[in-house]
Assembly symmetry: C2
Amino acid sequence: MKDIRSISTSTQFCAVIGNPIAHSLSPAIHNAAFVELDLDFVYVACRVEDVKNALAGMRALNNFRGMSITIPHKIEAMKHVDEIAEIDRTIGSINTVINEQGKLLGLGTDGPGALKAIIDAGVEIDDKNILMLGSGGAARAISFTLTRNAKLEKLSILDINEIMLQQLTTDLKAGTDTFIKSELLSERSLATAMENADVIIHCTPIGMQPNEDASLIPAEFFQSKQVIFDIVYTPLETKLLADARSRGLKVISGVDMFINQAVLQFERFTGVDAPIEVMRRVVMEHLASH
Amino acid sequence: MKDIRSISTSTQFCAVIGNPIAHSLSPAIHNAAFVELDLDFVYVACRVEDVKNALAGMRALNNFRGMSITIPHKIEAMKHVDEIAEIDRTIGSINTVINEQGKLLGLGTDGPGALKAIIDAGVEIDDKNILMLGSGGAARAISFTLTRNAKLEKLSILDINEIMLQQLTTDLKAGTDTFIKSELLSERSLATAMENADVIIHCTPIGMQPNEDASLIPAEFFQSKQVIFDIVYTPLETKLLADARSRGLKVISGVDMFINQAVLQFERFTGVDAPIEVMRRVVMEHLASH
């Protein structure tokens, strides 16, 4: 038990900002972790429209240590911090801000969270063919993180949005040495891509509640030994993952990426190893009850 | 017990800003009161140099409900809020900011806190001669609050700083109907003023730790039936109050004003009656242990 009466003038605080914010799990996750490790931190949530001034305020408030940024502010927030790592600038969004004594450092933990989920699942990606479905913000974060941290044989990307697909392809070709192949998503291009893919990473909203009966990949496209990673985590087991699991394929759930992005934020906020099982339990309890 | 794990996306937060801030009692006082009433609030502290951006941030962060402003920001903060009551503009400082859905309302609770201390002590000020020693920020807040809320017979003000004294006198004459008499502070002017005063309000730092052996008023100046109110509360009983008490005079301690200004802030933050005895206990425990 950690009573709010233990808060003193040295207590640091963090906040998640977004709009809307009512359904964010971040206060529950981070406060549980602070209590677990008896850290002198507290975490709140704010609906924010004016990202610039929210960040200006963070810079001015010395105990405002960390911020989680969620939809729709992940791109806008980049403009108002003081330093961003090159990879995050290339990805084009951030989900975390650290206040280093008045200097705001922006960074992303979605890509690293996905990479950690892959590694923790014991899945090898060096020398593998990776198929990424989707080219939006999450796809950008994951594709840059994977290509910068592993030696993929090939990264194929399919999307129905030609402009976003082309932009990501161009940026990846400029920013990595990985062989990139991109194509407009169609049943035919998907069928072909699935034939040679070792790891499939699904980065579109298809299958998310309330459309949980949908899956982008027809079950007959699966090949044995493929690994299916779905970044959607509501529901916890999407139709895509259920289909893959029923064919005996290895699956990675989006909830692992979600937990990991919070774990990596927590470690940047506090400088200590996160109590990951406590954080996982909070996430699972909340998702199971909704 | 109110665990920080109870914090959710609907939890509102407040903060005290100042520089330095390490010795502020505000987090302890307000969090104890939140817990007592089981309110969904939490209170932190921040050292701040850039008041403008601290307030801009408050405006942008929807759950940042209330702010206490302490030294040296009580004057500067006025420039960066959206609305200030006329009396607080005239006083020239604020110690409280309320965030009303993105509109910042600035106000002062020092004067009202002093008035409440006088009323709670059962001291009548209507038709009385009030002697105020000092003309700084606290004197301004108290003198305007008393003259606007009571029908004083006379308010006499003494100070060694002629410029501040003249400014306050001019402002009071323009802003109230009360008969104001001001004079440079000397042993002689003090002796004369003490002869006719009913209530003496000491608003200078004389007698404050570490100079607790000092008192501005020689004990032989006291008249029977006078009331002595010392706004200094470190030590809890100043030499001035001890001298007055030993002569059988009624005294009002600065700690009552200090508690009341927090009580009035709390009520503006939360909209509910403050648990004043809990707040008093926190203040007394902290002051007794230092």
